[in-house]
Structure formats: structure tokens, C-alpha cells
Point group: C2
Chain length 462, copies 2
């Protein structure tokens, strides 16, 4: 197992003993023993053999399908180039196991996407959210924010626009981006419509449209089930996920199950055709420390495990979204129960904040939780800006959020002992020991700021 | 045992089975069984009896001595008033065990000191450093910084002045402060003198002078021993503690043992007479991730344990200073080996930074480490400002450092489950759920900032 992991504290759930290999599509078979006729065989990165039998005429579309056939795609090669501690074959094997995703819409690959991977065998990634609202900013401004986020190290960007010309904005962001772009398609499904009128046709049409545009990963809140709604009634702050609350309302109005859950296989087919990666949403994530790790959150997580299995049977790549607001002592459990229930599918978390009483500083309150969450198993950290809970992030807020999360991601990678990750820290320490200020600045994440702070006291003996 | 603690991960050192009760002065005896004639008896907070026999005519001076006699001092009562989860008797028992200190110089108590406690049974505390340098700021400015730090929640303040009129500045800060004041007296011992001329008379004179001024706790680097110097030669950045490197140089010049170690009992006597608390310095603390938890650091920590025992035998209160720069995965070990070797004496740590490559953001890199260190056992966190490694903190840097460390301290207290600590978080969550913005701001740590951020987007639907 290539996964980097913290040692388990007493009482933590053990890893799942299953992987995506245990959830193959109908008509598939695999094994590591004697190869049956008609099966392909390949050597895994650890030197062991594996055979795979697939239906006649099968052609792989997704990275997961290629990996299952033993194929090293150009995207896997590129990932290994960007992360030298991994070989392309290791990347392939992690993708095949479902523990790594390469969110790379086949359309976006025709533009400027530089393929990257998310999974606990690779470096911790960070995501920056942006998006126009009905009363703020337009397409040009969002593209500028995208480029700014890329400059400050965002590994992926989510376009969460809820206003303006959503389609044009999404298209512009996809064409301009070098990083994978994620969306929450339910925001588009209800623009100018009544929520009650949402149905599976609208859902599939919207997903298909965004898949054709080139979106690399999509948040789909299929895990919020009708039976879960009762579980939130004693919460301090109910349902804070917008997607989660929209679907809960839909279920209450229609007295019916979540259509995304019901029609999950049809949704999988749509995402499959452009190799869109699922980011299965946590619609019941806690909105405050008091609601963390409660029955609603865990019931949904259990469903997310089921949806993971079903998506893997459809050949679709999966990551899982996580909280939110979690006391520091509950973070390891949150990471490790996800690892178990979702069989190692990459965990993509929002912070979490470890206290609620510092609005205006939530990039800090949350990057503390994010460091711990990554150390204990999360693969991607969705940034939180200083404006969280208060307003819409401006350019400098985006930077502050990115920097705080690069700190969290890097600190976790060093702690996990990923080869080579501490080299730059050590070089900077050497520059410090030598009082080599120029080198000190060069090795800094934000050289201009370091230089400016230093120069403020230029006449001062520091 | 009242101490709040994280569960021990596999392989962590167990707590010491000894306390300050095992290191009584000559002529003292104690027990919890049948009381001998001439011994005093008192009921401990857990209801169990204890007897103590002391030499004839003994009068307690320090909080530790009073606690050992079963006396609840006015300062203990005040601490319990400020921390309602503790009774005054529990405070007394923690002080008697050496697991809690009340840094309250008897002189400072004549001015405006509001007594507080440091120990893992109480809330996590934060310290703010300040001090004039030869080329910057004067007494008025330092007093203003002190008041600013108090406003932003500093529980103690260290005056690290190395220039200007040190004596007048220290005096002014002590008179103006409501919080305990700490110093690093070696800075004063060498001003205008040659380091080589330092001797035990100068050391004792300086300590006595500052004790008479009212300093509540003093960093004394008695743990850096001659035999340790060889252990730093393979480090990337050698000795970064100023006190540590001065004493190492002294030992090399004189080919002699650290005079502070040699004359520890004489030093204890000086601190004892005004009930100055030791903050035994970690002169060999690592200056970069690469040097963390190495032989030099651990050898010194072992000596700090010995010095703790010797100080307790002199009736002096003790806390222990800790690193500095520590990878996230080594933090729990650092906290728990200190707990073992120093028998539960409060641990007072500087951050630690969990990565070295973000100069300009070290209030963030270090408050991540500080949260984890407090959760795993540290009692007080010395703040780091954005200017760390680059320059001298200005007023806003002091604020940013304080806020980041209030976040760390509070997040750890919530995680440790200290009764009542999450109430404000929950109230704020309720205000959020009710969309009660005024209450939301009121409950925020920095209401003005939260309101300002919110008002930036007043016309925007958030």
C-alpha cells in the first residue's frame, strides 16, 4: 500500500480491506493468480502480476478504466513527472485501486489543462473557490481571479457562480485554466426555475451540458437521503450546504427520495462519457462544532460509501467531500471513518474550522484543521478565505486563503514523510544559518512579502 | 489526575509517576496515610487527606510552598474565579503537584497584577513578546504595546528588550501590566560588558535586581551543558536561542560547565524570595524542522527534568520552555516526552512552526503547531508574529500574533473538552442559524473586523 498515513490513534477505524478492484462493472473479472484465457495480464508497480477480463470490444474512456486495463495514460505519465516520488505505474495502480483520481475532462484536455492527481499517495492538493454572484463581478473578473489563484498555488479551482452569465463564465474559466475546474451543477439547475420542478431530465441535461463544456469534476449531493432529514432536527444549525438544503427541500415537497440517489447510475453514465470525476457532496456537513460527527453526517457518509461503490462499477472516478466545522480532537476520526467507509477514495475537505468564534480569521481557524485532516488522510483541502461567513472574497482574500492552505498542505506532506517534501525547508534553514538573505527570500513561498517585511527594518539590527 | 490530555498515540511516553510531592526540601515529609505527630493535615480537593511535616518555624513564601502546606492563597482563589471549571482547592493541589504555576512576584502583586495560572488543568494561555532594541522604540512605546497585547488577549508578556534604558522600560512595564511579566535576564547581564566576564556574582545580582523590580517569571538557560555542545555540530542551524548560544560561547571560552547549572541552588534561592517562577529555557531548541527532536534537544530536556526536581526541592515554581520548529508528526512526542521527563511541570512552547518556507506568515505556520502542542500537553503558547525571522513586530503584527494564538489556545481547549469552553462557539453557531448578525458580531473575537468585512458587501446577497 503506497498511501501515506498517520499512525492510527487507539480506537480509530482500520482502513477498508476493499478497493475499486472489488467493485468492477458487470462482465469484468480480475485476479492475481493463474490467468484465464482471453484475459489481459500486466505487471503492477510492485512487480506482482494482475489479469483483467473485460467484455468483448470494450474501449476505455476514463482514467479508471485505463488503469484497470493496465494502461499508463499520458495523463498518468504527466502526474509522475510532476510528482517525482511516484512512477507512472504507481499512479496507474493508485487510480485502479480508486485511491487516486486524475480529474481531466477529455474536452478540457483539448485546451490547456495540465493533468494532476488527487490521492493520499501524492502531495496534498488545495482548491480555491470562486464565482460570480447575482450582484457581483463578471466573467473577466472571474478569469482574473482564476489566474490569481493559480499564481498562489491553487491545484484546482471551483466555479461556484450563482449569477451573471453562468454558461459564458464557466466556458471562459475552462478555456483559460491550467488546473482542473470543478462545479456544483445544482446551482445551474435551479436558476430561473422553481426548485419543485427539478427532475431527473433537468439534472441529466445540466450534467451533460457541463460535461461537454469540459468541467473536470462535479459536486453531486446524492448522499442526502430522505431518511436522513429527521437526523438534523436537533442540530444547532441544520443543513448549511446549499446543495444539501435544496435537495432536502425537494424531498420534503415531493415526499420522495433524492433523485440523484435514485438515478445514480444514469448520472454515472453522463459523467463517464467525458471522464468527469465525482466529488460526491456532503450535503449534511456540520455548520458548527456542535453538529460535527453527528448521526446525520455519519449516515450520509455511509451512503457516500455506497455511491462510491456504484460509481466504481460504472468506471467513474470518485472523490468524497467532507466537513466543514470539526473540533480538533475529532479530526482523525473523521478522516479514518471516511477511509474505511469509502474504501480509500480521496477525501476532499472544507477546512475544517476548529473554532467558530473567529469570523474574519477563518482562513487560520480552518487551516489548522486542514493540516490535521491532511495528515490523517485527506487528499485535497478546499480553502477558506478570511471572508468566510461574512462576504465574498476579493483578490487579496483569495491570496490569503491560498497561502494558508499551501501552508497546511505542505506541513502535512512533510509530516507524512513524502520523499523530497522537506528539501526546500532544509535549504531555507541553511540559508538562514548562513545569513544569506537573498537565498532566504528566494526560497520563501512569498519572496516579495518576505523581502518587504525585512526591508521595513533595514536600518534595524535584527 | 485533573490534567486535561489527548489520548496517547501508540508509542508515546507515559506520564511520569512522580510529581513535585516527590521532590520536597530537606527536612520535609508528606504522606496520605496515618499522620505523624507534629504534622499538619489537610483535605485535598478530591476528598483524600494529606499530611505535611516541615521544619520548625517555616513560613511559606511561594505559591508552591503555600500549596504544600494546604493553604489556599488569595491568588489561587482569584485563579478559580477566573476559571470557573476549577475550585480554589483544585488550583492549590495542582500547584502543589508542580503541574500548575501562578507567576506572581510578591512585588508585582503590590501593583496591578491580576493573578492567573498556567497548567494543563487550566485554560491554555498565550504569551506575547515585546521589547525595545538598540535602534527602535522606547519605554512609552513598549508600554503601549503591552496594553495593546493585553487588549488582544495576551495572558502574559515577555519584555525582551536589548536596548534603550532597559531598567526603566522593565519598571514601567511591570507597573503598567495586569498580566505576569517575564524576562530573559541574560540579555541584561551582558549589556555593556564582555560575555567572557560573566560570572555567578553578575548572574545572581541581575536576577536579584529583576526579582526586586517585580518580574514574575524568568527564562534561565541552565539546561545547556558543556557536554551538549558537541551534539549540535551536525545541525543545519546550530544554536538559535540567544541565551543558549551566549552560554555555549562562555563554556567554550572558559572550558567550564554552565555557571547557571552549577549554581542552580543559589539561583533558586534568589527567585524564591520574591516567588519568581522559573521558565527554564531551552537553549538548544531546534531552529529548523531538520534539527527537531534531535540528540541535543533531548539531552537538554533531560537536564531540564533534573533542574525541575532541584527547583522543586527549593520550593520554587517551574515551567519548561519548548520548541520552536517541529514537523507536525513529531509534536505529540515532544509534548509527551516533556510531560514524562519534567514530571508534569507546565510546558511553555514557542509555536512551533510546522514548515520553514513561509516567512511572513509564521504566525500561521506556528499556530498550527501550537494548537497541536497545546492539545497534546503544552500549557502556554508563546506567540509568533508575521515578522518572525524578518524584523521587529509593529503594533498590527502584535495583534495578528495574539489573534492567531488565541485561536490555537481556544481550539485546543475545546478539543480537550475543558468544561464551558465551547459555549461561545455554540452561541455563535445559534446566532448564525438565526441570521442574527448583531449577535454574530458580538460573539466574535474581533467584532469590529467581522462587522467591517460584512459591511464591505452590504449591498451583496451573502
Amino acid at each position: 500500500r503506497l498511501t501515506f498515513s498517520s499512525p492510527d490513534a487507539p480506537g480509530m477505524p482500520a482502513p477498508s480491506d476493499r478497493t475499486a478492484w472489488d467493485f468492477l462493472p458487470d462482465g469484468w473479472a480480475t485476479g492475481t493468480d493463474a490467468t484465464p484465457d482471453s484475459a489481459r495480464t500486466f505487471e503492477q508497480a510492485d512487480g506482482s502480476p494482475r489479469w483483467v477480463a473485460v467484455p468483448d470490444g470494450f474501449e476505455p474512456v476514463t482514467q479508471l478504466e485505463s488503469a484497470r486495463l493496465g494502461i499508463v495514460t499520458p495523463q498518468m505519465t504527466r502526474v509522475a513527472e510532476r510528482e517525482p516520488h511516484l512512477s507512472a505505474e504507481q499512479v496507474r495502480d493508485e487510480v485502479a485501486a480508486g485511491r487516486m483520481v486524475i480529474p481531466a475532462n477529455t474536452r478540457h484536455l483539448e485546451y490547456n489543462l495540465d493533468p494532476m492527481a488527487i490521492g493520499r499517495a501524492s502531495l496534498t492538493k488545495i482548491n480555491a473557490n470562486m464565482g460570480a454572484s447575482p450582484v457581483s463581478s463578471g466573467t473577466d473578473e472571474e478569469v482574473e481571479k482564476l489566474q490569481w489563484a493559480e499564481k498562489w498555488g491553487a491545484d484546482t479551482v471551483m466555479d461556484l457562480s450563482t449569477g451573471g452569465d453562468l454558461d459564458a463564465c464557466r466556458e471562459a474559466i475552462i478555456r483559460a485554466s491550467h488546473v482542473p475546474i470543478g462545479t456544483v451543477p445544482i446551482y445551474s439547475m435551479i436558476i430561473g426555475k422553481k426548485l419543485e420542478d427539478l427532475n431527473i431530465e433537468i439534472i441529466l441535461d445540466t450534467l451533460r451540458h457541463q460535461a461537454e463544456q469540459g468541467v473536470d469534476y462535479m459536486t453531486v449531493h446524492a448522499g442526502v437521503r430522505r431518511a436522513h432529514i429527521d437526523l438534523v432536527k436537533d442540530r444547532l444549525i441544520g443543513i448549511v450546504s446549499r446543495g444539501g438544503s435544496l435537495l432536502a427541500k425537494w424531498m420534503l415537497v415531493h415526499q420522495a427520495e433524492n433523485p440523484m440517489y435514485e438515478h445514480w447510475e444514469a448520472i454515472c453514465d453522463v459523467l463517464h462519457d467525458r471522464d468527469v470525476t465525482f466529488s460526491i457532496g456532503d450535503g449534511l456537513r456540520p455548520g458548527g462544532l456542535a453538529d460535527a460527527t453527528d448521526a446525520a453526517q455519519l449516515a450520509e457518509l455511509y451512503t457516500l460509501g455506497e455511491l462510491t461503490e456504484r460509481a466504481w462499477r460504472k468506471g467513474v472516478q470518485v472523490m468524497i467531500e467532507g466537513p466543514g466545522h470539526v473540533p480538533f480532537d475529532q479530526i482523525e476520526y473523521n478522516a479514518k471513518i471516511q477511509r474505511r467507509l469509502c474504501h480509500g477514495a480521496p477525501f476532499y475537505v472544507l477546512g475544517p474550522l476548529v473554532t467558530d468564534i473567529f469570523p474574519g480569521y477563518d482562513h487560520i481557524t480552518s487551516c489548522i484543521g486542514a493540516t490535521s485532516m491532511a495528515y490523517h488522510g485527506a487528499s485535497m483541502l478546499c480553502y477558506v478565505t478570511p471572508k468566510e461567513h461574512l462576504g465574498l472574497p476579493k483578490k487579496d482574500d483569495v491570496k490569503q486563503g491560498c497561502v494558508a492552505y499551501k501552508i497546511a498542505a505542505h506541513a502535512a506532506d512533510v509530516a507524512l514523510g513524502i520523499p523530497g517534501t522537506r528539501d526546500r525547508d532544509d535549504d531555507l534553514t541553511r540559508a538562514r544559518a548562513a545569513l544569506n538573505w537573498e537565498k532566504h527570500f528566494e526560497l520563501s513561498f512569498d519572496p516579495d512579502l518576505a523581502r518587504a517585511y525585512h526591508d521595513e527594518d533595514l536600518d534595524v539590527d535584527t
